[in-house]
Amino acid sequence: MASREIVRYKSPTRTAFSVLVILFLIVFFVWTVLPLAIMLTSSFKDLLDAFKLPAEGDWGGVGVMFDFKPTGAHYIELFTEKHFGEYMRNSLIASLGSAVVSVFLGSMAAYAMSRAEFRGKKDLLFWIISTRMAPVVAVMVPLYVIFRSSGLVGTLPGLILAYTTFNLPFAIWILKGFFDNVPYAIEEAALCDGANRWQALRMIMPLVAPGVGAFIVLCVLFGWNDFLFASIIGSGGAKTLPVATAELVQPVKIQWGSIMAAGVVTTVPMMFLGLLIRRYLVTGLTMGAVRE
């Protein structure tokens, strides 16, 4: 804020205030990072180490958290005995397939919506956004019945189609906002120079390419992190990482080491993707309402 130019004098209240602020920031930082750190360390701990806790009220014993001999056993187990390589491939195919289909068709439709004015456009847009907002469970009830009768349950194409139910409206909606920001004058100038419509469209490609790429990544993220569709529609043949993780919970004993390792395997690629598209992330997660 503008307060930078104003000289501030020290006073006890001010000092106390800034100490409070710093304390709050530290607590918030720890609160955000600690679960991640625990997940990461636990995935490298063997069972004995993972279950070690200091006695209640023994604050000095917190160091136990980092006192362990790292072992990659859980990861090795996941990829050899538990077929996580295959599930990872399923996750990748389903989410990437749906992302590519959605963004390809979505960008065409979004371009048209952005450039054309026609009757019912508002209603069309409303329909699109409400499709995206519909609760997953509510959509799944009829979708399950339809997919079951057409043999799509338990297949990757079925899962791709299921993910498209939320990725396609997302892509249309967000890319429309994106194309709206590209001045039509650019295409107009190209058209005046004798370009045809496709060539004119190619003129604005470099402008929209980074955004389109970022929204492909976001669609991959939505599909990758999905659990409900994958557990009901993908059950059987098309098991994805979240479902496989949930299946590590067995009635007799929950294999926490493996679950934490599976969590790391599921989360880390998405975190990198998130950092990669950082500029578009808030726009994407707020349906284009907030731009940074």
């Binding site: 503008a2 307060s3 930078r4 104003i6 709050f24 920031l25 918030f28 930082f29 955000t32 679960p35 625990i38 279950f51 806790l53 209640e56 023994d58 604050w59 065409m108 048209a112 919506m113 952005s114 450039r115 054309a116 009757r119 019912g120 209603d123 956004i129 409400s130 499709t131 907002m133 997953v136 469970v137 509510a138 009829p142 399950y144 498209t164 396609l168 249309i172 709206d180 920001n181 590209v182 107009e188 058209l191 045809n196 419509r197 992190n225 999905d226 659990f227 409900l228 679950i259 934490m260 969590g263 599921t266 975190m271 998130g274 950082r278 808030v282 997660l285 309402a289 907030v290 731009r291």
Partner: protein, 326 residues
């Protein structure tokens, strides 16, 4: 949807819109009016979307009026509005709505308070970049994984958060998620952990748009930083916070993965929000007709929220997109 009704708009409006107007452009491509070319671009996506959303919606209505038989060879029985009228006497249904609102209210109030607080502190500080990077991490995590992670932290024999709460002397019982009054706090904390960062990022984006002159004018008038926040920054943030609230509320009933994993709605239905109940009815008891009726009521709420959201997008006075290129 009527694609074939793509039409000219009245002249005044297109003048106002300026750059968007397309029917003046020389028709070079295929000698067809521009609108046909745009229609062919629009059509595939709209048809696909109709196939995967309108067609299931028709099915949903059909199912909600029938007693759906899952066994092959049996045909569905006409039930009229029985599925709907039964909802009125269904205690779990009413409780599901109540729990959903309680859950959302708790999540949202904590997230908004914390998110705005963090954003205001971080705004323009040296730590801003670092924190933004850290904020991204929980948001990128699959809700299922977050659910498991918190289950692990809450575990009664080796969970660190369980140990912390016991050590602080706050928790009397032997379990967090198994305790009726703590389970709700447990699932809310998970949501807060994952999504407070998003609120903070939205608020940060909003704070960058607060007009500098207003802040300075207020300061010249003798307002301190706190007064400045409440009387200048906060009113400017309202549209951003409104968006954040709508989106988070929407997601609260869109995604039930964490609750499903952590408590499954228990203990004693303490965390059984309506979508969780719907999941049980449809995919545990396989009463698809009744499930469809419940889904229908949820979709109504969705449509209301959608209307609110599109209103915000349309509102010409809102400041959110003030940086648009045109």
């Amino acid at each position: 949807m009527a694609v074939n009704s793509i039409d000219r708009e009245p002249r005044e409006q297109s003048e106002y819109r300026g750059v968007r107007r397309i029917d003046h452009v020389p028709q070079i491509f295929n000698n067809q009016p521009a609108r046909y070319y745009l229609m062919w671009l629009l059509l595939p996506a709209v048809l696909l979307l109709a196939a995967i959303s309108l067609y299931p919606f028709a099915w949903l209505i059909y199912m909600s009026l029938h007693e759906v038989q899952l066994a092959p060879g049996k045909s569905d029985l006409w039930a009229g509005f029985d599925n709907f009228s039964r909802l009125f006497s269904d205690k779990n249904f009413a409780r599901g709505w109540l729990t959903l609102f309680k859950y959302s209210a708790l999540c949202l109030s904590v997230e908004i308070t914390l998110g705005v607080l963090v954003a205001v502190i971080l705004n323009n500080s040296r730590l801003e970049k670092l924190f933004i990077t850290i904020f991204l991490m929980p948001m990128m995590m699959a809700p299922v994984v977050a659910g498991f992670l918190y289950m692990f932290l809450y575990n009664g024999t080796f969970g660190w958060y369980f140990w912390l709460l016991r050590s602080l002397g706050v928790l009397d019982g032997g379990s967090i998620l198994g305790n009726k009054s703590w389970a709700m706090a447990g699932v809310v904390a998970t949501d807060v952990w994952q999504w407070t960062p998003l609120i903070a990022l939205i608020t940060l984006a909003g704070l960058k748009r607060v007009p500098q002159e207003q802040l300075e004018a207020n300061m010249v008038d003798g307002a301190g930083p706190i007064r400045n926040f409440f009387s200048v920054a906060l009113p400017n943030l309202y549209p951003f916070l409104l968006i954040a609230i709508l989106l988070r509320f929407m997601d609260n009933f869109r995604f039930i993965d964490t609750i499903l994993i952590m408590t499954g709605g228990g203990p004693a239905n303490a965390t059984k929000i309506l979508p969780t109940y719907l999941f049980d009815v449809s995919f545990k008891f396989f009463e698809l007709g009744r499930g469809a009726a419940i889904a229908f009521t949820l979709l109504l709420l969705t449509i209301l929220l959608g209307l609110a959201l599109t209103k915000i997008f349309e509102d010409p006075t809102r400041k959110i997109k003030s940086d648009r290129a045109d």
